[in-house]
């Protein structure tokens, strides 16, 4: 028991060490130094080992069990979807083994940095959708808030010339607040008149997307100096997000620190939802608005906060793209990060930390799909088929409950 006591006494130090271990592992892994995985695994093992020593074993076991249970449906969906994709490939005359090999190699090894570049904005928009979902709201207009954030980042990034430690946080904050503001009217309409947020935010999304074309014209887009007229002037280099290559020479030159910000944001959102008062109120309203009311929780206020925070998070995705990857705003109206955010949130059952993994999966499927198409000449629409099937299987989980009820029926009648 003394070992236990000593551990308990120094638990803060142990946790700091764990944090460093896991953090360095994650950064190594992100920069394609895959041995980082060992660090991460070690950290996880130590974490649970520590819990085993200090807490009741049954509680820790049931925790692990519930995590595994939550992952069961998405994992089963992915497996089935991969099998269906294989059948499609066999029918169309491709070898699924080599194709999937290329998909995996491209997505998780060769073009891992592309997967992460794809994933970073998805994490933000996925968090946005998930957060609103927790309050029982469907923020379908994440795409619009994304464009608001991107425009704010481009507009400020071109002119705002100061130390990056000041400018970057200010740009994130300003863009985020504009994104929140953009959801102000849908929230107001929802609370005052009951207008459904699916309609209002979607309409607002279209407005923002097409407004961005006008915006681009006014912040550059001079056809005589640019080969691509539908693009703003570049953002000042001092406003660029830090690139990994500046610290880790082996990292890809495009990979920027946006993914780290995204992961940290996901953990912050998780904290906000599970460990704070406002998070509790949001979950309560999402779980049962009528009961929340009789417990003295203001549903109107909560709906407002949820939509504003969702707007903020989506706008961060736009900032991440402009300051991190593109360094200018393109007039490309089909990035679809907002819409795909809905998919990753659904797949993660709206768990903020889960969103990190589903976003990376989505990003890797895209990156790997391109690699597969190039090397194996398999059309990468197979990736979209897999994505669609996964989502369908996960969203259609009521099938399981239907089976459950059927079984129950047999039991009661046989008595």
């Amino acid at each position: 028991m003394t070992a236990r006591e000593i551990l308990y006494k120094y638990r803060v130090i142990v946790f700091i060490l764990l944090f460093l271990l896991a953090g360095s592992g994650i950064i190594l892994y992100i920069t394609s130094y895959f041995a980082g995985l060992l660090f991460i695994l070690l950290a996880i093992i130590i974490y649970y080992g520590f819990h085993f020593l200090l807490k009741d074993k049954r509680i820790v076991l049931s925790e692990i069990k519930s995590i595994a249970k939550k992952m069961l449906i998405p994992l089963a969906g992915i497996t089935i979807a991969v099998l269906i994709g294989a059948v499609v490939m066999i029918i169309t005359g491709y070898n699924p083994l080599t194709a999937y090999g290329a998909l995996f190699y491209g997505g998780f090894v060769k073009n891992w940095h592309v997967s992460l570049l794809n994933a970073a904005p998805l994490i933000f928009t996925g968090l946005s959708v998930a957060f609103a979902f927790k309050a029982g709201l469907f923020n379908i207009g994440a795409e619009g808030q994304y464009y608001i954030g991107a425009m704010a980042a481009a507009g400020l990034g071109i002119y705002f010339d100061w130390h990056p430690l000041v400018t970057i946080p200010v740009i994130f904050l300003a863009a985020g607040l504009l994104g929140s503001l953009y959801n102000f009217f849908p929230a107001l309409l929802k609370v005052k008149t009951g207008a459904h947020e699916v309609i209002t935010t979607m309409m607002f999304a279209h407005i923002a997307r097409y407004f961005s074309s006008i915006f681009i014209r006014n912040f550059g887009g001079d056809p005589s100096t640019s080969s691509h007229p539908y693009v703003t002037d570049p953002v000042l280099p001092s406003n660029w997000l830090l690139r990994f290559k500046d610290m880790f020479p082996w990292a890809n030159y495009r990979l920027h620190s946006g993914i780290i910000i995204a992961i940290l944001t996901a953990f912050f959102v998780h904290y906000l939802l599970s460990y704070t008062r406002i998070g509790f109120e949001i979950r309560a309203v999402g779980s049962n608005p009528a009961a929340a009311k009789t417990q003295g929780i203001s549903t109107g206020k909560t709906v407002f906060i949820a939509l504003m925070v969702a707007g903020f998070l989506s706008a961060m995705a736009g900032v991440n793209q402009v300051l991190g990857l593109d360094h200018k705003l393109y007039g490309n109206l089909s990035t679809g990060y907002g819409w795909n955010g809905i998919s990753v949130a659904l797949l993660a059952s709206n768990h903020p930390v889960g969103v990190i993994f589903t976003s990376i999966l989505w990003g890797a499927l895209d990156a790997g799909g391109q690699y597969m198409a190039r090397t194996q000449e398999v059309h990468n629409s197979i990736v979209e088929i897999i994505k669609g099937t996964v989502l369908f299987l996960v969203v259609a989980r009521y099938l399981y409950t239907y089976w459950g009820q059927k079984r129950k029926k047999k039991e009661t009648c046989n008595e």
Binding site: R283, S287, N288, A291
Partner: protein
């Protein structure tokens, strides 16, 4: 033998019907029959299983076990479509009409006369007109639904069923939305349908209606058949007893310990409307003193729901005041009322009481997670929350694997105990308890009753709203009878009988 004799003239039999929902057994082994041209009443309280039984008959639910025979042929009803094709028609409580289409269009919708995909509107209009004249159901076939009164819309619903050649008509609480004049009109229509050999099943919880219109009545209680009677042979009081009576008699140690009358909780001349904008509480006044339990007896639907909602603050007061130890709280929101010392155990615990997908600890402290010691800044102090909820779980004997379990995994009795723990542990000045033991087993009922008495012994003013007379008699220091939104009579439980209270509950005091 007897069944053989009865067989002629019987157009519908439901035998040994049971329906298991995930949490409740809504119907348990119910057998009923219906004769041709009969008006049959299905009487029972809210949640007794009447609507479930009829929804099974109409193909909306599949029975867990049991058989249905229509005209002596076994019927498998997979959807309302099957039911309609077998001559069944149902008029729901909430009408299924399309507001901006005309009466004719609504009636023929889905079975339009005409050919090649074209609708013969002239013919449709003629058929509707003939039908409405034949059954004395007068409505303008060209009027739009949105312009019709509720009573007329109901006629359209009935016509819709008749147009589909219904010979068995199910009316789900048809009078709930009608004015007294419209009710009389409906009864005339029902009788004329009866003359034309249409069989009618009317679902209701109102005793007067059973007496006024039906020939025979089945009484349902808690999902089981509590009796079958010929209407003219049974009195309202007996019906009431069958409907609300309970087989379990509880003896509780209770003595009236009130010595001096201090103001605790006072309602002054309350006027409140229901969801349809009809007056639900009509000049209601009452007073509950600290250390006293006042029981509100009444048949469901006489304003109980509106009363509990207006007290916690989720329904608007039209006129009148609510005083809590002399302080007027009528204008307070829910939060401020809770902080002033009001606690509330709702009758609909799933709608108003619980967050089913959330943890026991979050449910048990839901109303306190905005203040110390559970909150520090914006942070929840999980360790304090967990310790306190564990304490409450032991105190109230809640059976759960841990406080982290989602409430949906608990049994009904334990779910109710979670609400009790939350509301009682706040140490309220006033406690509003509505239907605290509905759907629970005997053990849970006894525990909950003794907890309510404990609250009284701690000088809480308790207002108990219940539709179960046994419960009212077992707990109350005074009984007030609620009828049509007003208090019509006050009783001392020691000096009255169930019969007498039942008489006033069903409007007997009016004449």
């Amino acid at each position: 033998m007897e069944r053989e004799k009865r067989k002629d003239g019987i157009c519908l039999r439901m035998e040994n019907i049971s329906k298991q929902f995930p949490k409740v057994l809504a119907n348990e082994n119910i057998s009923i029959y219906l004769k041709r041209g009969e008006i049959l009443a299905l009487l029972g309280e809210n949640g007794a299983g009447k609507s479930t039984l009829m929804n099974i008959l109409y193909g909306l639910y599949r029975p867990t076990c049991g058989q249905i025979y229509i005209n002596n042929h076994e019927a498998t009803l997979l959807s309302p479509k099957d039911a309609i094709s077998l001559g069944l028609g149902m008029v729901h409580q909430h009408f299924m009409l399309i507001e901006n289409l005309t009466v004719t269009e609504n009636i023929v919708l889905g079975m339009e006369p005409g050919s090649w995909g074209f609708i013969d509107f002239k013919k449709a209009r003629k058929i509707v007109k003939e039908l409405s004249e034949q059954y004395h159901l007068f409505v303008d076939p060209d009027a739009k639904i949105e312009g019709l009164s509720v009573g007329q819309q109901q006629r359209v619903e009935i016509l819709k069923a008749l147009y589909r050649k219904a010979t068995i008509l199910i009316l789900d609480e048809p009078t709930a939305v009608l004015t007294p004049q419209e009710v009389d009109g409906l009864f005339v229509v029902m009788r004329s349908l009866q003359e034309r050999k249409v069989s009618i099943i009317i679902i209701t919880h109102k005793l007067e209606e059973v007496k006024a219109i039906s020939g025979r009545v089945y009484i349902l209680r808690r999902g089981k058949l509590a009796g079958e009677r010929v209407t003219k042979d049974i009195s309202k009081a007996e019906l009431a007893h069958l409907m609300v009576g309970r087989d379990v008699v509880l003896t509780l140690n209770k003595e009236n310990r009130i010595t001096e009358k201090k103001p605790g909780f006072t309602l002054q001349n309350l006027f409140v409307k229901n969801d349809n904008g009809v007056t639900a509480l009509n000049n209601l006044s009452l007073e509950v003193c600290p250390g006293e339990i006042v029981g509100i007896a009444g048949v469901a639907g006489n304003g109980q729901k509106e009363l509990e909602e207006v007290l916690i603050g989720i329904r608007r007061i039209e006129k009148g005041n609510i005083l809590l130890t002399g302080k007027n709280i009528s204008r307070y929101g829910v939060k401020k009322r809770i902080q002033s010392g009001l606690s509330y155990v709702p009758s609909d615990r799933y709608r108003y009481g619980l967050f089913l997908s959330m943890k026991v600890s979050e449910n048990i402290l839901a109303s306190s997670l905005d203040r110390k010691p559970y909150v520090n800044g914006i942070n929840l102090r999980l360790r304090v929350i967990n310790r306190r909820s564990e304490e409450l779980v032991t105190m109230y004997g809640i059976k759960t694997p841990s406080v982290h379990e989602p409430v949906s995994n608990l049994s009904g009795g334990n779910q109710q105990k979670v609400i009790l723990a939350r509301e009682f542990s706040r140490e309220p000045v006033v406690l509003v308890v509505s239907q605290p033991t509905r759907g629970l087993d005997v053990g849970a009922i006894e525990f909950i009753h003794s907890e309510i008495l404990k609250m009284r012994d701690r000088d809480t003013a308790v207002l108990l709203i219940s539709m179960e007379l046994e419960e009212i008699f077992a707990l109350s220091d005074r009984i007030l009878v609620l009828y049509e939104g007003s208090i019509v009579k006050e009783f001392d439980p020691g000096k009255t009988s169930h019969k007498e209270v039942g008489y006033y509950m069903t409007g007997g005091g009016e004449r």
